[in-house]
C-alpha cells in the first residue's frame, strides 16, 4: 500500500479510538441474575453499542449533508437509461473480485458464469455499459471476501458500525480491505498514478447504491422506532441471505396463528 493509504488508515483508527473513549465504548451488561436477558444480550452481540450508535449518528449526518442530496439529484435528473448504464458498468467492474471469491468458495459454476458475463458485457456490452449477458440468460450475482470467509466457517463477530461504510463486523470489514487490495482496477490505478480513478469509482458506486435503495431506507427510517436497531437486524439478515446465495434461511422466525389471529 502507498503511504497515502497508510495515513488514511491511521486517521481512521485514531477517529475510532476517540469515538470509543468519548462515548464510554462498551454497552451496559445485563443483570446476570436474569438468564433470558443475558441470552438476549449475547444473541445481539453488540458490545460496542454506544460507540456504534455514535458512529451511526455521524454517518447519518454525512449522508444527509452530502450523499443523499447527490443521490436524489442523480435519481431525479439523470434519465433512467443513463442510470441503468452506469449501474451496469459499475457491476461489470466488480467481475474480477466476484470471480476470485467464487473460486475461493469452490463455486465453479458461478465462477464460469462470472467470466462469461464479463467477457460478453465488456465486448458486446460496450465496456460493461450494457448487461447483455442477463438477456442471454446468464444471470449475475455478487460476491465479496466477507462472504468467502463466512463460507470458510469464520463467524461474523460483534456488530461494528464503520465510519462511511456503515454496518459491518470484523469479518466483513476484513473482507472489504481484501477485496480492495485484490481488485485489478485498483491495482492498475495505483500503479499508473491514477488514484483519482479509485475515488471516482467509489463515489459513483456510493451514489448509485444510495439512489437504488432510496425509498426502502427512507421508509424504514420513517417507520422505525429505533432506526439503529432496525439497520443492525436488516444488515445481518441480508448478509445471511447473501452468504447462502439466496437460499431461504432455515432461521426464519416461526410464527403460528393463534385462535384469534
Amino acid at each position: 500500500m502507498r503511504v497515502g493509504t497508510w495515513v488514511q488508515t491511521g486517521v481512521l483508527a485514531a477517529f475510532l479510538v476517540l469515538i470509543m473513549s468519548v462515548t464510554g465504548g462498551c454497552a451496559t451488561s445485563p443483570n446476570p441474575a436474569d438468564p433470558e436477558a443475558v441470552a438476549e444480550f449475547n444473541a445481539i452481540n453488540d458490545p460496542g453499542e454506544p460507540a456504534n450508535r455514535a458512529i451511526f449518528a455521524v454517518n447519518r449526518g454525512l449522508d444527509a449533508a452530502f450523499l443523499k442530496p447527490v443521490a436524489m439529484a442523480y435519481r431525479d435528473m439523470t434519465p433512467q437509461f443513463f442510470q441503468d448504464r452506469i449501474n451496469d458498468a459499475l457491476d461489470n467492474l466488480r467481475s474480477p473480485v466476484i470471480f476470485f471469491n467464487d473460486v475461493l468458495q469452490g463455486e465453479l459454476e458461478r465462477a464460469v458464469a462470472t467470466v462469461i458475463r464479463f467477457m460478453i458485457n465488456s465486448s458486446l456490452g460496450l465496456l460493461g455499459l450494457n448487461d447483455i449477458a442477463t438477456d442471454l440468460g446468464v444471470e449475475g450475482h455478487d460476491e465479496d471476501f466477507g462472504q468467502t470467509l463466512a463460507v470458510w466457517g469464520i463467524p461474523e463477530g460483534p456488530y461494528m458500525m464503520l465510519p462511511l461504510f456503515g454496518p459491518s463486523n470484523p469479518r466483513d470489514a476484513i473482507g472489504i480491505v481484501v477485496d480492495f487490495l485484490i481488485d485489478p482496477f485498483n491495482i492498475w490505478a495505483g500503479n499508473t498514478d491514477r488514484d483519482y480513478a479509485i475515488y471516482s469509482r467509489s463515489a459513483a458506486r456510493a451514489v448509485d447504491l444510495r439512489a437504488l435503495h432510496m425509498e426502502t431506507l427512507d421508509e424504514l427510517e420513517k417507520s422505525s422506532l429505533d432506526f439503529y436497531a432496525s439497520i443492525r437486524s436488516l444488515y445481518r439478515q441480508r448478509r445471511v441471505n447473501e452468504i447462502g446465495n439466496g437460499d431461504p434461511s432455515d432461521n426464519l422466525p416461526v410464527i403460528s396463528i393463534g385462535t384469534a389471529p
Binding site: 433512467q80 429505533d226 437486524s233 441480508r238 426464519l252 422466525p253 416461526v254 410464527i255 396463528i257 389471529p261
Partner: protein, 216 residues
Amino acid sequence: MMDHSRTQAALRGLVFIFVFVLPFGFAPPSAAAETEERAGSFIRSLATEAMESLTQEDAPRNKRIQRFRKLFNDHFAVRSIGRFVLGRTWRKASKEEQTEYLKLFEDLMVVSYVDRFTRYAGKNLTITRTRAESAKSTTVFSEINTANTGKPVQVLWRVGSLGKVMKIVDVIVEGASMSQTLRSDFGSIVRQKGGKVSGLIEELRKKTATLKASAP
C-alpha cells in the same frame, strides 16, 4: 386339509391395509399439496385486491389508509405477528397493555406499509413456487418486477393456516424478514426503557401520531 386359517388371516390383513391404512397413508401428502395450492391462490388474490384498491390515483391518503387497513386485517395475522414481535415481554404485560399495544401495532403497520404497498401494488407479482413447512405453515415464493434494474425482487410470503383460515404471518424481502426486523426494533426500545412495555407503548403512540400527521 388346507390351512384356511392362515389364508384367512392374510386376507384379513390385506383388507385391513387396503381399507384402513392406505387411504390415510395417502391422505396427508395430498392435504399438504392442497394447502400449498390454497396458499398460492391466497397470495395471488391478495395481489389482485391490493392492485385494485390501492392504485387508484385519485384516492386521498386517508381513503387509501382505510382501504389498506381492511386489506391488512383481512389477510395478515395481525395479533399473532404483534405477539411475536413483542417477544418475551408479552408475558410481562397486563391485559390492558397488551390490548393497547396491539391496537398501536396495527396502526403503525397500516400507516407505514400503505405507501410501500401502493408502490408495489401496480407491479407484476409472479408466484414461482410454494413449499409446505409444516401442516400449518406454507411459504409462497414470488417475484416482483420493479421499474429499475432488470433483476426482480424476491419476496417470500409465510402463510399460516388454521382450518379454513389463512393469514400471512411474515413477509421476507430478499432475505429480510419483516417480523424479525420489527422484533429487533421493538426489543431494543423495550431494553432501553428498562424492560417495560409502557415505554414501548409511549414510543408507539408518538411514532403513529407523527406518521399520521405527515404528508404522503
